[in-house]
């Protein structure tokens, strides 16, 4: 078992800009896929801003609500699918035997959003980009806890956009773009433990869809439940709040 402190967190999706919005939405889920994303990147110079698409805007929007003061905070960026819409458009251009857009190619890599973030904020610290299947949130937390062994604080960002329709029959993705940004600390915030149960010992069956992971994790962040559990490759990861403090 390992533990860490959750110093601050924010979550962002179209029409869900604050914790209260998420709280309402968890109680009464409403259709949000068609709503516009309310993110302004005016603080990012225009020549850099043009490189942010929906996925990047979502991540940047959530991070900027945190008002991080440390310019060189180590970062963990986790996304299940990355910019699949952009990757698909590149594949389609290959299919048409056209030359690929160099800008599109450079922005389709999995660490593109974290790269843009580091340029925009002049952050020269280490940055990890994670792609995981089920258990994306747990993988991001696990990596963050690992990096807290040699950093006082880390920024952990979990973000995804809906998959293009051509992929939807093959996997469960999210129905709307979202980003969760958290500052994890060694010493400051709400104490949380992370524990692991190997495949032999676990008996519960947890819904592993990413939509459900997001719901459960937000309920945990909002203090509606004291634990968050997710399954990955048969084993399970559990987060548990060890103090009574509610954010």
């Amino acid at each position: 078992m390992a533990s860490f402190m959750l110093e601050a967190w924010t979550a962002l999706a179209p029409s869900l800009n604050q914790k209260e919005d998420w709280s309402t939405w968890l109680t009464e889920p409403s259709e949000i896929s068609e709503q516009p994303l309310n993110v302004s990147l005016k603080h990012v110079p225009m020549m850099l801003r043009r490189r942010f698409n929906v996925l990047g805007k979502c991540a940047m929007g959530a991070i900027s609500q945190l008002a991080i003061e440390e310019p060189n905070i180590p970062c963990i960026f986790a996304s299940q699918h990355g910019d699949t819409t952009l990757t698909l458009s590149l594949l389609e251009s290959i299919g048409r035997q056209e030359d690929m857009s160099p800008t599109g190619f450079s922005l389709a890599v999995h660490n593109a959003v974290s790269g843009l973030y580091s340029i925009a904020t002049k952050n020269t610290s280490e940055i990890t980009a994670i792609a995981a299947m089920e258990g994306t949130i747990a993988s991001a937390i696990f990596e963050s806890v690992g990096q807290l062994q040699c950093a006082e604080k880390v920024l952990c960002v979990i973000y995804d956009t809906p998959l293009p329709s051509v992929y939807q029959p093959y996997t469960q993705g999210n129905e709307f773009p979202y980003a969760i940004a958290m500052v994890l600390s060694r010493t400051n915030g709400e104490e949380i433990s992370l524990s692991y149960q190997s495949p032999e010992s676990q008996t519960v069956n947890v819904d592993t869809s990413s939509e459900n992971e997001l719901h459960q994790f937000l309920a945990f962040l909002l203090g509606r439940s004291n634990t968050y559990t997710c399954q990955s490759n048969g084993s399970s990861w559990t987060l548990e709040k060890t103090t009574q403090h509610v954010s």
Binding site: M46, M47, R50, R51, D99, S101, P102, T103, S106
Partner: protein, 86 residues
């Protein structure tokens, strides 16, 4: 500003997602990269691709000559004019 210069500006604005910039804001003689318009190396590759698609111009990405062609809108216009007249 000639029609060709304007055409090149519109091409650059479109292929580089410079939606906040108007063609009239780009000076024909100003540097396109770093100090002037502020384009970067990925933009250079993107412009190279656009020149190839639109005018059939193929450039060597590492030559000093290419660097000179990309200096300004005027230099790009000369490149396109010379290519058309060959």
């Amino acid at each position: 500003m000639t029609a060709l210069q304007n055409e090149l500006k519109l091409m650059i604005i479109e292929c580089l997602d410079l939606e906040d910039i108007d063609a009239t804001e780009i000076d024909d003689a100003d540097p396109l990269f770093v100090d002037g318009l502020g384009l970067d190396s990925i933009d250079a590759l993107e412009i190279g691709l656009a020149l190839q698609k639109r005018y059939g111009i193929k450039l060597d990405s590492n030559s000093d000559e290419t660097r000179a062609h990309f200096a300004s809108i005027n230099a790009l216009a000369d490149l396109v004019k010379n290519h058309k007249s060959i």
